[in-house]
Amino acid sequence: MEPGIDVAIKKKLADAALNAAKSKGASYADVRIGRYLNQFVITREDKVQNIVNTESYGVGIRVIADGCWGFSAVVDAKNESQLAKAAEDAVAIAKANAKLMKEPVQLAPQKGFGEVSWKAPIVKNAFEVPIKEKVDLLLSVNDAALKNGANYVNSVLFMVNEQKYFASTDGSYIDQDVHRIWPNFNVTAIDPASGKFETRNALSAPLGMGYDYLQVNPSDKLTGITTRYNKGYDMLEDATAAARQAKEKLTAKSVEAGKYDLILDPSHLWLTIHESVGHPLELDRVLGYEANFAGTSFATLDKWKSKNFQYGSKEVNLIADKLQVGSLGAVGWDDEGVNTKKWDLVKDGMLVNYQAIRDQAHIIGEKESHGCCYADSWASVQFQRMPNVSLAPGKTPLSVDEMIKDVKKGIYIIGDGSFSIDQQRYNFQFGGQLFYEIKDGKIAGMLKDVAYQSNTQEFWNSCVQICDERDYRLGGSFRDGKGQPMQVSAVSHGSSTTRFNGVNVINTARKI
């Protein structure tokens, strides 16, 4: 792939836009010059179905004029006059919208950083790895699955590179190079006699890493009932296990509905954190800006102001973090030029904060933005997006085996499955990939047809134990949707294996 535009040229283009915006009366302006590269390699069984490269380049300009936001984007913008024109359009839109506005935008102050840069700390750029190597990996993964009992297997490698340049009238010129990778597969095992089938997805996590995520290092593996992975992923080994487990599921015991203690692996718990903590604590949602689509939130401002809202048990510490190395959300600066940081959302079980950007910080009495503003393209307006939100590991040494030993009647869940939560984030239902029955401190065998239902506050207050940091791992969402028009964002969620007591489990088997 050819290199992107030189940073000196990007600065010249950005200055043209910023100057044009100011000359038309903007009190603030920012410019994002973006080049977005994607590569997908898609296979099934012994065939490569598709190899795709996509490239998108353009510029988005956002201004405040007459106290109101305006935005304009232009594709394929490579000369200064195009950018100046787009900046003027943005100012005109802001001035037109100002007539409909009641209160002017209040932007938290932000110092400029001058000319700076940030690069994802990748070891091996996935875009520079030969196609053949990627194809060979996926075909060997498929072969391993088929040899171990899978009837069908689909595997895929998604790779993303965002080359983003941000400049603002605050005096920042920020060049960033963001990388993401997601290896994934799905195996299916079929019992022809009964006509039943079962599937098992990869236990990988999408991460802010390069191809180095696929370099296998024994220290990245956690052995147990099945191997789970930390910063390095053995796709071949996981596919082998997946095929055997999908087959085992065909004859596994169908769960008996009722209350169980749940032991949730980080490859599963990330999604519960995402839906029941990450989303309800987005300030725009709390205020009602997402009411028509994603919904509002039970975690209302009065609960936060009371300083007494027990989101979870005392064990529960939930942290927002845009700095976490290797995570999907890590960048040096967000998409409005704010340096990224780490802050508490829930401390010792108590709700203490939300996720806010520059024009929201004043609402919760903060002096500065949390640095979690993001746009999925140069063509999209940046807005508040979820930072990495993670559950802090337990402070007392505790392994998964030790945790299981104390459980009388429980289910150990690994991998994420079906997920659904209401529009205020109270009632949820989650499935998974692997379910193991725990009886009197021992794993008694595989279960199927398992989903659990709970209420966010009840669930987090039923958290009784969290394994220590040795077990801490990241999961994440590669394409989290929000907004109208909808934008996607990638975000990681870390945790150690965690125990929740007395959760309602339903049986999902039906006959059609």
Partner: protein, 445 residues
């Protein structure tokens, strides 16, 4: 250059791109669109914008080695770059034995999806339409959040065997959530049309307002099996899971709700109530759609479920050849036939039941049975002895649309609806269903 190309402009551009091809076969797909939107929340405009999208995707092949590259920068240099990139990928790719090559020229039914009225929508007309809605919610001291988006676009494809296809279309979607200031009531409405002249934002807003006010003071009912009346907006998000699961290969492979033991499928079998008929038709006046599929195969009127019987499944060109049948492309729209009952009649004939306005966060729990989960939202009401008695607290459901269409009581008249899951438009009737499974209660309003 405007992003909306006429048929002749699109043809000329595609010919230009194809002229760079050195591959054995090449297929170039082109799309362009203009979108204008107005979003509001808390009774104020929150964001508005207009967006121009364009994209060129090139698929090159050498024998059965295939590569795809896409770009949104247009210009001769970019055209050549994207063709070369796809060729490089194709050379690096192993052979795909399932690659079928490109189709020769095809005949298509006409295009009915483009309306000048919609293409002419501008920021002023969008603001005007939204203002009509906002005035109503503001005057009743209710809190409105909504989104209006109109789209004008075209898609075109051309390949090295001389196939050329072009389809212009327009669409407008309007959705609105009205909440009471105390957050105890919430109502929803969505409308979608090809022709913006049919959009009545004030009329739609009155429905959302009535549902919002009517849903205050909801009482909790025990979860369990209930007779439900699903408005089309609620029904469509369940039916969409059937529409997307009609693939023959998955059924033949034994991993579909259409699979049967022993490698057989349910093609030709009755799987639902005999009043269920689902078909696609690109020439439908209410729901016009593209007369060709992505790879240039012609679309025609086709039954998928007829009187409860599976009539057709989607056959890719590869799978069709392997099975010795005709290819059946994935449809570009879906329509479910209805009955004559009005909503009032359906309510009047219900002894005990629940009226559902909208279902939300639909996810598949089991692909074998198409068991889905999700929740009611923005207007859920208890019906007793033929009358709406009171609002009820929202429920989570766990139900399969296949089971649901076996438990059919009554069908109303089909309406054009917008799926809140995919934003796609369909023609779906309201329906009364018995024994619909609600599994738990939600505190959400």
């Amino acid at each position: 250059m405007s992003s909306i190309l006429s048929e002749s402009e699109a043809k000329a551009l595609l010919q230009k791109v194809l002229s760079y091809s050195k591959a054995d076969e090449c297929e170039v797909s082109l799309m362009g669109e203009q979108r204008g939107n107005l979003r509001y929340a808390r009774n104020e405009v929150s964001t508005s914008g207009s967006l121009v999208n364009q994209n060129l995707t090139v698929r090159s092949s050498f024998g059965k080695k295939v590569g795809v590259a896409a770009i949104d920068e247009f210009g001769e240099e970019s055209f050549e770059k994207v063709v070369r990139r796809s060729e490089e990928l194709a050379r690096l790719a192993p052979e795909n034995p399932e690659f079928m090559g490109v189709l020769g020229p095809q005949q298509y039914l006409g295009s009915k999806g483009f309306f000048e009225s919609t293409a002419a929508a501008d920021p002023a007309s969008r603001a005007d339409a939204v203002l009509k809605s906002l005035e109503l919610s503001r005057s009743q001291n209710l809190v409105a959040s909504g989104f209006l988006e109109n789209q004008t676009g075209f898609s075109a494809t051309m390949n090295s065997k001389g196939l050329f296809a072009y389809y212009p279309s327009t669409n407008v979607n309007f959705s609105l959530t009205v909440r009471t200031p105390d957050g105890m009531g919430s109502g929803y409405v969505a409308r979608g049309y090809s022709d913006i002249k049919k959009l009545d934002t004030a009329g739609a807003t009155k429905i959302a307002i009535a549902k919002s006010l009517g849903s205050v003071g909801a009482k909790a009912l025990e979860p369990g099996k209930y007779t439900v009346i699903l408005e089309p907006t609620a029904a469509v998000v369940l039916l969409e899971n059937i529409f997307s699961s009609m693939d023959a290969r998955s059924a033949d492979e034994g991993r579909s709700f259409l699979s049967k033991p022993g490698g057989k499928t349910k093609l030709g079998e009755k799987i639902m109530d005999e009043r269920v008929t689902i078909y696609s038709d690109p020439m439908d006046d209410e729901l016009p759609a593209s007369p060709w599929s992505g790879d240039g195969q012609p679309q025609e009127k086709r039954s998928w479920i007829e009187k409860g019987v599976v009539k057709n499944m989607v056959y890719s060109r590869y799978w069709a050849e392997k099975k010795g049948v005709k290819p059946v492309p994935f449809p570009t729209n879906m329509i479910m036939q209805g009955g004559d009952a009005t909503m009032e009649e359906m309510i009047r004939s219900t002894k005990q039941g629940i009226l559902v306005t909208k279902l939300w966060y639909i996810r598949r729990v089991d692909p074998q049975t198409l068991l889905l989960t999700g929740l009611t939202r923005d207007g859920t009401f208890y019906i007793e002895n033929g009358k709406i008695k009171h609002p009820v607290k929202n429920f989570r459901f766990n139900e399969s649309p296949v089971i649901m269409l076996n438990n059919l009581e009554t069908l109303g008249k089909p309406e054009r609806v917008v799926s809140t899951e995919s934003d796609r438009n369909y023609l779906i009737p309201p329906m009364k269903i018995r024994e619909f499974t609600f599994s738990s209660l939600s505190d959400a309003v």
